[in-house]
């Protein structure tokens, strides 16, 4: 009984197979002959339509406009057909670079796709369809780092100052201990958060080993580990109170803290590192010592103890050194980070630096007032001066805490120096097959017009000289059909294409069609991410 059904079923299966295998072919015989606006054209006002001229009648299947901010707008234009298609565009198009991705079918049923790039007013690199970062992770990472810096300065700092300079008197002793234990927890926690953030993950990813491995692999990995060691040494040294052994432990903790922060972060990554890393090191040492002195000093002054005077007098003699270190290293780092282009100073990084400088100016003002006005009177035993100084120190601590919140925010704003470097950094790719290898360089590797250079070698790294090389760029995930770009051979052996417009950040596919001889063509391809 089933036998009569088998033939139709087989036929159906065959039909499906044929449709599946045959249908998606991009058969390239309907040829785009012209377009208005022309490819990569710059127009003053938004055109009402993009006109495409073909060598034969075609019907429009789909069309999508990708706007400069990365939005995909499907274009409804049913029944559009003929040798010339005028694809209507939405009204009120803004300035910037747009891509019209289209797919047409020619009379015999074969779809052909392409993408046309045009710019209204200005050429832009569109905003990315970049990874959406979980705001909770960003906030937590920021909070964790601010807190970590806080316990480093006021926990470890106080312990170091107390042990080395104040015979173990740290004011709020339990608080200082608690802060250092907090540091032991916060350092690894911030490492995990760093990993999640680096992977563009979400909150639950914090428990995945991959996040931690990634965090460890960043420059922050060692920073977190060394900071933990610093906190551990600080706790032990502080526990021993005073004396030589405790001083060595606390001093080592201080040096480790400086080393830890000099290992990572924007500033340490800047060139010349022979200058920036020591600068960060001394910057951190100075800040930890200054901030660390505040709690023990305030404790001693508030309790009205007799040794308060001695402590204050020693502090006022000692403090110019750390402050000097902070100022000199701070100026060095600021100059390196801001770069020479003054216009780039108006940036997130610049604003944070400005806010930090304003707050620091107030802190320095308070410190100067303490030093020049209050210290003398307090040393003479003036109680009101001592109380005023206690309040002033409290204000300094509060202001420093604000500065820490700001500094932790630097994590999210690359300095102008780094932005300029990132902008100039080309994408380099190596495509490797047994027969043929290609080195590709895409410059400047940001949305907008790019130059692509290709160097070809055979499997034994010997140069090959093909007849021609064509480049196809597409963004399959975003529905941008391949654009075919011819290249020309330079004297240096590179095949080059200039002005290849990659309108959006994100994932792109690049394919090379290499014509080795009249009858032999090799295709190499790879994907890359445009930042």
């Amino acid at each position: 009984m089933t036998r009569p059904l088998q033939a139709p079923m087989r036929a159906l299966a065959m039909l499906l197979l044929t449709l599946i295998l045959g249908a998606p072919q991009a058969l390239a015989h309907a040829v785009l002959l012209s377009s208005t606006p022309m490819e990569n054209a710059m127009v003053e006002a938004a055109p009402e339509a993009v006109t495409l001229g073909f060598n034969e009648p075609v019907s429009l299947l789909t069309a999508t406009l990708i706007t400069p901010d990365g939005e995909s707008l499907p274009i409804v234009a049913e029944g559009l057909g003929g040798s010339t298609l005028a694809i209507p565009l939405p009204a009120d198009l803004g300035e910037g670079t747009h891509v019209l991705s289209w797919r047409v079918v020619s009379a015999d049923g074969h779809p052909v796709g392409g993408a046309n790039v045009f710019s209204i007013g200005i050429v832009t690199g569109a905003a990315s369809g970049a990874v959406v970062v979980d705001p909770a992770i960003g906030a937590l990472l920021w909070g964790a780092k601010a807190l970590l810096y806080g316990v480093l300065l006021f926990g470890l700092g106080s312990a170091v100052y107390a042990v080395v300079f104040a015979q173990g008197e740290a004011g709020p002793r339990r608080l200082v201990f608690a802060m250092m234990v907090g540091g032991l927890v916060l350092a690894p926690l911030s490492l995990g958060l760093q990993g999640v953030d680096a992977l563009g993950g979400r909150m639950p990813d914090l428990i995945s080993p991959a996040s931690w491995a990634t965090g460890m692999a960043t420059s922050y990995g060692w920073t977190a580990l060394i900071l933990m060691a610093a906190f551990a040494l600080g706790i032990i040294g502080f526990g021993r109170g005073a004396g030589r052994g405790a001083s060595i432990l606390a001093g080592s903790a201080l040096l480790l803290a400086g080393l830890a922060l000099a290992r990572s972060g924007h500033a340490s990554a800047a060139d010349p590192q022979g200058l920036t890393r020591p600068a960060v090191f001394f910057h951190i040492l100075g800040i930890v010592l200054w901030a660390g002195a505040l709690l023990p000093l305030r404790g001693a002054l508030a309790e009205g103890r007799s040794e308060g005077g001695a402590l204050l007098s020693r502090f006022s003699r000692f403090i110019p050194y750390p402050v000097g270190a902070i100022l000199i290293s701070g100026v060095v780092l600021g100059v390196v980070q801001l770069g020479q282009d003054v216009s780039s100073w108006v940036s997130g990084y610049g604003f944070i630096l400005l806010a930090k400088l304003v707050l620091l100016a107030i802190v320095f003002g308070l410190a100067l007032y303490n030093r020049l006005v209050l210290t003398g009177r307090a040393l003479e035993g003036d109680r009101r001066a001592r109380r005023a100084m206690g309040k002033s120190i409290l204000a300094e601590i509060a202001l420093m805490a604000l500065v820490l919140l700001l500094v932790a925010g630097w994590r999210f704003t690359p300095p102008p120096r780094a932005l300029a470097e990132a902008a100039a950094l080309p994408i380099a790719m190596h495509i490797h097959t047994e027969a043929l290898m290609a080195d590709l360089e895409i410059t400047p590797a940001r949305p907008g017009p790019n130059a692509i250079a290709v160097y070809l070698m055979d499997g034994d790294f010997a140069a090959v000289s093909p007849q021609s090389v064509e480049i196809l760029v597409s963004a399959p995930e975003r529905g941008i059909e391949p654009t075919r770009v011819p290249t020309s051979l330079g004297e240096d052996g590179y095949w080059r294409a200039e002005g290849v417009t990659l309108p959006l950040a994100g994932a792109w596919q690049i394919d090379l069609e290499i014509r080795l001889s009249r009858f032999q063509m090799v295709r190499l391809g790879d994907s890359f991410t445009l930042p």
Partner: protein, 173 residues
């Protein structure tokens, strides 16, 4: 009765689905051949280069297809490029070590709006393996070319080479 109609409808659909790709690309009319047999290849050229007329048609004869004879064509000059084979083939007891490796029809004028066919024959060596066998072909026009030389077999290939599927079979010629 209903079944018969179903079958007919499906067969028609299948047929149309199968034949459609032939219209767009330069392809061979017969898409299947037996290993060790003679084969008459008909290269179908459906269009020019964009809007330009085709003036030259070249076809490469890969290793394994020997004793090749092209069919002359009115209005076109015919020439062949010969070379030595990598292997030795037996043509009715005679050893063959060299032969046609490229056929060139030139000096013609095939407008984009017209269609034409180019014919040659030869023999598939019995040492070949079953599978796809490509005949890379190139149309040359006044200012460009259409190079049907993509032998990657990828479904999305823009310019696939004309091909024939080789199957095992009795060497019956």
């Amino acid at each position: 009765m209903i079944r018969a109609f179903c079958r007919l409808g499906l067969a028609a659909l299948t047929l149309s689905a199968l034949t459609v790709p032939g219209l767009a690309h330069a392809t061979l009319e017969v898409q299947e051949a037996r290993i060790g047999s003679g084969f008459k290849a008909v290269l179908r050229v459906p269009h020019g280069c964009g809007t330009e007329a085709t003036n030259v048609v070249r076809i490469q004869i890969p290793e394994g297809f020997f004793a090749v004879k092209p069919m002359p064509k009115a209005g076109w000059d015919l020439e062949t490029v010969t070379g030595s084979y990598e292997n030795t083939y037996l043509n009715h007891g005679t050893e063959v070590t060299e032969g046609v490796v490229e056929i060139v029809w030139s000096g013609g004028n095939l407008p984009n709006e017209w269609y034409d066919e180019f014919v040659f024959r030869g023999t598939f060596a019995d040492s070949l393996e079953p599978g796809v066998f490509y005949f890379p072909a190139i149309q040359e026009c006044a200012n460009g070319e259409e190079a049907w030389i993509d032998t990657s077999g990828e479904p999305g290939a823009a310019y696939p080479a004309p091909k024939v599927t080789l199957i095992e079979g009795p060497a019956g010629h």
